[in-house]
């Protein structure tokens, strides 16, 4: 972990909260200047609409993500890709990546564990690409509620094969050790 655990309140009202508040204030001022007071009330009404629509779905998405994390121990995940190789290893890497919940605080410790347990670099690249492109938590908590089912399906269909492609390319590139400086062959 990157930094010691902070209190929830400190995390909730951390930098990104204030950055967004600042952006909101600047955008509100610009909207007022450009389009007048009506634009503000239109924006606020739309926000309330989105929020009411989003809240129950987002709470569901987060509960789902928390529960999946609780029943899916990282050691087990590491074992799946660690032991596989070949094309199957890449496919499994991409799929496990897509199934890894949480942000980079979860996925990077897992990928380091994969590397340590001897996963091949194609599987490692496929894993990270699968996690970032197709991560189910991102899809459930953010894309589905905000962008709607059809957009989400289009996006998934457009990117689903690409983590496997990235893993295959990574394997073709002649390169010795790729790990965090341990000098071992991956």
């Amino acid at each position: 972990m990157r930094r010691p655990k902070r209190s929830r309140a400190a995390e909730a009202f951390g930098p990104s909260f204030w950055v967004f508040s600042g952006v909101a204030a600047i955008a509100a001022w610009a909207a007022w200047e450009l389009k007048g007071a009506a634009a503000i009330s239109v924006a606020l009404a739309g926000d309330l609409d989105i929020l009411l629509f989003l809240l129950p779905r987002m709470i569901g998405g987060m509960l789902l993500a928390g529960l999946v994390q609780a029943i899916l121990p990282p050691e087990l995940v590491a074992k799946w890709v660690g032991e596989e190789s070949g094309f199957r290893g890449i496919v499994i890497g991409a799929a496990v990546g897509a199934l890894t919940p949480g942000g980079p605080m979860t996925s990077f410790p897992i990928i380091v564990a994969f590397y340590m347990s001897g996963a091949d670099r194609g599987a490692l690249v496929a894993y990270l690409t699968g996690w970032s492109l197709l991560g189910f938590q991102r899809t459930l908590v953010w894309e589905l509620p905000l962008m709607g089912g059809e957009f989400t399906l289009y996006k998934i269909a457009a990117v689903i094969a690409l983590p496997i492609l990235a893993g295959m390319i990574a394997r073709l590139i002649p390169m010795g050790s790729v790990g965090p400086g341990r000098g071992e062959e991956v």
Partner: protein, 166 residues
């Protein structure tokens, strides 16, 4: 809301496992909500005002379905510089979508933001996996964003554009 059916199913699985996994899982979910709730509210607020000031005709012209390759390339070019995770990106993508941006450009943008997001590369990937691995991964995924945009364009061509969200 199908998501609550899934929550119930996974909760049952967790409940049947030994220990207090169901309890931990629910707690983790609520923690996530408590931490993200305030940010989500201000992010939505910001996106609402931004969508008021976005020049819709320009967005539609640059990123619209009819912009073709140009829209996909612009999407690829701006993606890496969206800081932060989906919290930052999704409300903006929604605002762009509503202002007339096309699915190919938005899919390309989401694909570069996830595979080439510079903030994650510098904060996590290089420190934890090293520069060589990061270089290998970036090189391997160089084709992903334009390919994703192209595939999305094909889908739109054959199936028609997706429904506008709520």
């Amino acid at each position: 809301m199908i998501i609550w059916v899934m929550v119930a199913a996974v909760f049952l699985i967790a409940f049947r496992q030994p220990g207090t996994r169901h309890h931990q899982g629910v707690k983790r979910g609520f923690d996530m909500f408590l931490v993200n709730g305030p940010r989500i509210c201000v992010a939505i607020l910001a996106a609402g005002f931004i969508s008021q000031i976005l020049p819709e005709d320009l967005v539609a012209e640059w990123l619209g379905e009819s912009a073709g390759w140009q829209g996909i390339l612009i999407g690829c070019a701006v993606g890496p510089f969206f800081p932060g995770g989906p919290l930052v990106i999704m409300p903006l993508v929604l605002a762009l979508f509503k202002a007339g941006a096309g699915v190919p450009a938005l899919v390309a943008l989401l694909a570069t933001a996830s595979t080439w997001g510079i903030h994650r590369i510098f904060m996590f990937e290089i420190p934890m996996m090293g520069g060589r691995f990061t270089g290998l991964r970036l090189f391997s995924s160089i084709a992903i964003p334009p390919l994703a945009g192209l595939l999305a364009a094909l889908l739109v061509h054959f199936l028609g554009p997706p429904a506008m969200p709520h």
